[in-house]
């Protein structure tokens, strides 16, 4: 383990301003994509529910 303290870890040898945005952007994008997809899936399912319900009412 090469990091003396959390601060040292966050500083990344003076390159923190470059390293963390890179990892942060990557993490954000990936999480965002997953969340978006789950929302999309849920929305379609809800829509299917509704249309199914209306079909049942109609018939």
């Amino acid at each position: 383990m090469q990091w003396g303290s959390l601060n040292e870890f966050l500083a990344m040898g003076g390159y923190g301003a470059y390293v963390w945005p890179s990892f942060g952007a990557t993490a954000l994008c990936m999480i965002w994509e997953v969340l978006l997809l789950r929302r999309r899936h849920a929305a379609i399912r809800a829509a299917l529910h509704q249309s199914a319900a209306s079909v049942e009412v109609a018939s």
């Binding site: 383990m1 090469q2 990091w3 870890f9 990344m12 040898g13 003076g14 390159y15 470059y18 390293v19 945005p21 890179s22 990892f23 952007a25 990557t26 994008c29 990936m30 994509e33 997953v34 997809l37 789950r38 999309r40 899936h41 379609i44 399912r45 829509a47 299917l48 529910h49 249309s51 199914a52 079909v55």
Partner: protein, 247 residues
């Protein structure tokens, strides 16, 4: 022969593909999380500081896997497109459509992390180097495929048109790469060259490999999630999709 044909048609119909994809997703997602956790652990806590670049080199652990995925996913997308055109199989087109956004995302990430690496190492956010330029063009190609698909109302037409484009583009990717590289070396000396990156220690390499594997699993999981959405959206009125509403 007839046997294998039967299985093929079984999985080439959306209603068979949908639950299959659903079963696969947790596996890929779990593997992705394990790999990413391990990769980050090795990358940040085990791998030593580079004596030339200092700790900025750690960007490599996202940059390179993202760059690899960006190119790999394009090829996979084009492959599905080819299968779709050849066999007229709808799920293949859906897979191609599902992969494109993830590919574009990784392309963007490669560019972004590359820029954040370039600033400390080269002193510039951007240079018109062969790799960078071809990566930028790859982003345009992804955008083209996605925008073309989005611009056509008729799904069947949209599928086939963007499949043709993806195929033409896959021919172009290596051509671009070599042409830009060649152009670059003609004009200027090797003032910037990524091959001059330091020889990497085994730990660095393994961290990078594990991260890449994690990205790979992530892409598979996300593509399958997206393809499930696409299937449901498209087959909205099909009776099996109605049944699926409870699942």
């Amino acid at each position: 022969m007839s046997e294998s044909r039967a299985t093929w048609t079984k999985y080439s119909s959306p209603q068979a593909f949908y639950p299959l994809a659903g079963k696969l997703i947790p596996w890929f997602a779990g593997l992705a999380m394990i790999c990413l956790a391990a990769g980050l652990y090795i990358g940040f806590l085990v791998a030593p500081t580079d004596f030339q670049q200092g700790d900025s080199y750690r960007i490599i652990f996202v940059h390179v896997p993202a760059a690899w995925m960006s190119m790999f996913l394009y090829v996979v997308m084009a492959g599905w497109a080819a299968v779709g055109l050849g066999l007229k199989a709808r799920p293949s087109f859906m897979m191609a459509q599902a992969i494109a956004p993830t590919g574009a995302l990784f392309t963007f990430l490669a560019l972004f992390t590359g820029a954040f690496w370039g600033k400390p190492t080269w002193g510039a956010w951007w240079v018109w180097d062969a790799r960078l330029t071809s990566e930028l063009i790859l982003l345009f190609q992804y955008a083209g495929v996605m925008l073309l698909h989005a611009s056509i109302d008729d799904l069947r037409r949209a599928d086939r048109a963007s499949a043709v484009l993806a195929l033409v583009g896959v021919v172009n990717v290596p051509i671009i790469y070599f042409s830009v590289r060649w152009w670059n070396t003609l004009h200027q000396g090797a003032s910037v060259s990524m091959t001059a990156a330091p020889k990497m220690a085994a730990t660095m390499l393994s961290a990078m490999g594990i991260m890449a594997l994690g990205f790979w699993m992530y892409s598979a999981a996300v593509a399958l999630m997206r393809v499930r959405c696409i299937i449901l959206e498209r087959e909205r009125q099909a009776s099996w999709a109605q049944i699926e509403r409870g699942a």
